[in-house]
């Protein structure tokens, strides 16, 4: 049992949206690093180390690409490293590219974390209260996808074993796939008619459908939601007011590093690490309870 399973999906969504918005509207490398770190630690806490390991190579590729390509488009900056004709590659624009890369990695890590905590069921539950029909349509579609996939494979094998189309010839291969695809469409129409019957057999006309969900906003969710909203609004205010500004060009320097900007960094850190701390707390509590048994 992990902590996020007890958090209401709406609150989870709010939390992630706030973090993503904050990351996307800041150019401060310190904040970018913090958000990346928060996202990666959270992924690890969720037990997604395998996903992380697989993604790391993409992270590195993105970082390298953004760092190296930024100087091709932006030639600002004072510290010139190499000069080829009219092109000059500056240290500042390399760093700007690296910052951008880190920010993209942070967004990726958070999105991976979000998709692993938000099951399709949780998405649907977000619609259920207000839009029960949309929610029903989504669940029916979700049921269809794996069925269609399986059927597609079955049609391919059955038709292949008839030996009518050669796999070697490109033209025949396309024709083969097209025919199988049409068979799939026909089957799904047939299937849809059956699903409609099954829905009809269990429904009442003239009665308003209720929509049942197993998620309910609790006190804990409310506290978490209020905390996230307050942190986000404060940080956004500070961001707009320029407390977090950072200048790359013409020379890298931190604008007026003072108490205000320090506060903004702390607030951002808290925001980016809350999901991780929640999981960490859960883990430690579990260890503690176990040790008492």
């Amino acid at each position: 049992m992990q902590a996020y399973t007890r958090i209401h999906p709406a609150v989870l969504t709010a939390q992630f949206t706030f973090i993503l918005l904050s990351v996307m509207f800041t150019f401060n490398p310190i904040l970018q690093m913090i958000s990346m770190l928060g996202g990666i630690l959270y992924l690890i806490a969720l037990g997604k180390s395998d996903t992380l390991k697989e993604s790391i190579k993409y992270y590195i590729i993105i970082l390298v690409i953004t760092t190296l390509t930024n100087p091709l488009f932006s030639h600002y900056g004072q510290t010139v490293l190499i000069k080829i004709g009219i092109f000059k590659i500056t240290f500042e624009s390399l760093m700007f590219g690296a910052g951008l890369g880190i920010s993209i990695i942070a967004v990726m890590a958070w999105c991976q974390a979000y998709s692993s905590v938000m099951t399709t069921e949780k998405y649907v539950s977000l619609f259920k209260g207000k839009l029960p029909k949309t929610a029903l349509t989504i669940t029916i579609t979700l049921r269809y996808i794996p069925m269609l996939k399986r059927r597609w494979q079955e049609i391919l094998s059955a038709q292949r074993a008839l030996g009518m189309y050669s796999y070697k010839n490109g033209h025949e291969k396309i024709k083969f796939f097209l025919i199988c695809f049409l068979a799939l469409i026909e089957w799904s129409f047939e299937n849809a008619a059956n699903t409609v019957n099954s829905i009809l057999a269990r429904s009442c006309k003239g009665i308003k459908r209720t929509s049942c969900s197993y998620y309910k906003i609790q006190k804990y969710d409310l506290i978490l939601l209020i905390l996230s909203v307050v942190l986000f609004l404060t940080f956004s205010f500070m961001n707009i007011e320029g407390y977090t500004d950072f200048e790359y060009y013409p020379k890298i320097k931190l604008q007026n590093f003072n108490l205000k900007s320090l506060t903004s960094v702390i607030i951002f850190t808290v925001m980016a690490f809350i999901p991780f701390f929640i999981e960490l707390k859960e883990y430690l509590l579990w260890k503690y309870y176990r040790s008492k048994i």
Partner: protein, 553 residues
């Protein structure tokens, strides 16, 4: 008290002149179990669907259907019709949503119940039906048996008084179907739910049914207790669908009450016959025909991290044999067929077809005259608008001249007796008809080996007989047939060899008489009835023959 009364019910499908149902009269008393039988196409499903108004087919209806003092044909509210629950044949097609729990509460949501009420009932029903273990799963992960239990539970959750089931276990394996049946019986015993069920497998249902309804060509020809039917219906075609004990009894002229369960059958034989364990003379000819399929030391798994499905399986099928592979769900029966048909490859081991390694068949040459594969769902083989179009398409891909193609198709149509079916859309045929057309299609390529995956699934006794005849015909033509099946009775009646696939290998291989008489549970009803008295009697015909020879008490 009568819960349902059907009076003078008649029905004609739109665009059809002949009546699908004619002058049906019967009543069902509350809390009873009622079994409906009849050949495919006799109007069973039409009758059941007329009783469930939302599913009624389009057409002209006459007569009255009175449920709970209301004539539901004329005056029907949806709330009332939720009092009639309906579970159909295919477990897959009735599931609507992606999660087990949301499927379960679907009916309650449409009744507009409050959230707390829904939670309470869902909890109660999930525990009653043993669903709590997979409550949070996706419906797609469930086995066929689990899906059907879920369908039953999500119909029962709206608390219907009458439950209508249309061949609910026809797509299930024997273990799942007996699980399903015991749940059904429990519902009847503990909640007093009235049950009206149409089924081909009557072995379990006959002894517990209060009433038996027999439909034949749109008419209700019998409506009384099952035991009464055993005497009354003697000599009628429908007797093929009766339990084995009754079939044995009907062939012997012994004055006593008809046995309708395996237990009754055992007592009946012990009471009337002296044991006769004499060895039958071995008539098997010793000549060994060449092996057509030879698979040695086959290892297979679907993906790197999966468990092995086959663990060094060996299989030899000889020319002209009808070879049945039996085994539980997920034991790898279909996998074997996929491997032998070259659709999948083992990661270890060798498969030889006609003495040639399967990998050496290039460019579809394996599928032209060597192997043909009938998948579990014959619909997969049809992609055109009529059966004839499908046949012509396949014939066109063969390397023969136009005239020969026509001749070949005409011969095939005659051989399989499908003349009336070829201008119909393949999806509009009944299961049995569709399968016959599928077999005809496969026959066009004149293959040496037929691979049939669960060919008797959902078929009634009459069709199984026809399929058996087709298989014998294949055998006469020197074809080899490899079948996977759950259907013990069918395997016993028609195969030359049976093999049990268990834990990735073939646990035992043998002739049906040795194979089934050695098993205790995994055997035919006839063998279970007669094992204490006779040896090697696995078909009811065998038992009857031995009874006639044996000394009467």
């Amino acid at each position: 008290m009568e819960i349902l009364q059907v009076k003078n019910l008649g029905f004609t499908y739109t665009g059809n002149r002949t009546k699908a149902l004619d002058d049906i009269n019967f009543s069902i008393s509350a809390g009873s179990i009622n079994l409906l039988i009849g050949a495919t196409g006799s109007g069973k499903s039409t009758l059941l669907r007329l009783l469930k108004r939302q599913l009624s087919p389009a057409g002209q209806t006459q007569g009255e259907i009175i449920f709970d003092t209301v004539d539901i044909l004329n005056k029907s509210s949806d709330l009332l019709s939720l009092k009639i629950g309906y579970v159909g044949q295919d477990p897959e097609l009735q599931i609507v949503t992606d999660k087990v729990w949301s499927e379960l509460v679907f009916g309650l949501e449409s009744m507009g119940l409050s959230r707390d009420e829904i939670h309470r009932r869902a909890a109660e029903f999930a525990s009653y039906f043993g669903i709590q273990e997979w409550f949070d799963k996706s419906t797609d992960e469930l086995s066929g048996g689990q899906k059907q239990i879920l369908n039953l539970a999500s119909v029962m959750i709206t608390e219907p008084e009458l439950l209508i089931l249309d061949e609910p276990t026809s797509q299930l394996d024997p273990i799942s179907s007996s699980d399903f049946m015991s749940t059904l019986i429990k519902l009847n015993m503990e909640l007093g739910t009235t049950i009206l069920i149409a089924e081909h497998r009557t072995e379990d249902l006959f002894p517990i049914s209060d009433k038996l309804l027999i439909v034949d060509r749109g008419k209700l020809i019998f409506c009384d207790t099952p035991r009464c039917a055993c005497t009354m219906m003697k000599g009628h075609d429908i007797y093929d669908n009766f339990p084995t004990a009754a079939k044995i009894w009907s062939m012997l002229d012994i004055e006593c009450e008809c046995p309708i369960s395996v237990k009754d059958g055992i007592t009946f034989l012990e009471k009337h016959y002296y044991p006769d364990q004499s060895e039958e003379e071995n008539t098997a000819d010793k000549s060994i025909l060449p092996a057509v399929i030879q698979a040695s030391n086959i290892w297979f798994r679907y993906s790197k991290n999966d468990k092995d499905i086959l663990k060094g399986a060996n299989l030899t099928v000889r020319q002209g044999e009808i070879f049945s592979i039996l085994g539980g769900n997920g034991s790898g029966k279909t996998t074997i067929l996929n491997l032998v048909s070259g659709l999948k490859r083992p990661y270890k081991g060798k498969i030889k077809i006609n003495g040639k390694n399967i990998l050496e068949y290039k460019n579809n040459s394996l599928y032209k005259g060597v192997i043909s594969y009938l998948p579990q769902d014959p619909k997969l083989l049809f992609i055109k608008d009529t059966v004839a179009d499908d046949l012509y398409e396949l014939a066109g891909s063969l390397d023969i001249e136009r005239q020969q193609q026509d001749k070949l198709i005409d011969e095939t149509i005659q051989l399989f007796e499908i003349k009336d079916l070829i201008n119909i859309h393949p999806y509009d045929l009944s299961g049995g008809e569709r399968q016959k057309c599928a077999l005809a299609k496969l026959m066009l390529t004149d293959p040496a080996v037929f691979l049939l995956d669960e060919p008797t699934k959902g078929m009634d006794a009459a069709y199984k007989k026809k399929l058996g005849i087709i298989l014998k015909l294949f055998k006469e033509k020197g074809k080899t047939v490899l079948i996977t099946t759950h259907d013990i009775e069918f395997a016993a009646a028609y195969s030359d060899k049976c093999a049990l696939l268990f834990n990735g290998i073939f646990a035992c291989v043998g002739k049906p008489s040795q194979f089934f008489s050695g098993n205790h549970f995994y055997t035919t009803a006839s063998a279970r009835i007669s094992r204490r008295i006779f040896n090697n009697t696995i078909l009811f015909e065998d038992v009857v023959k031995r009874c006639k020879k044996a000394k009467c008490k």
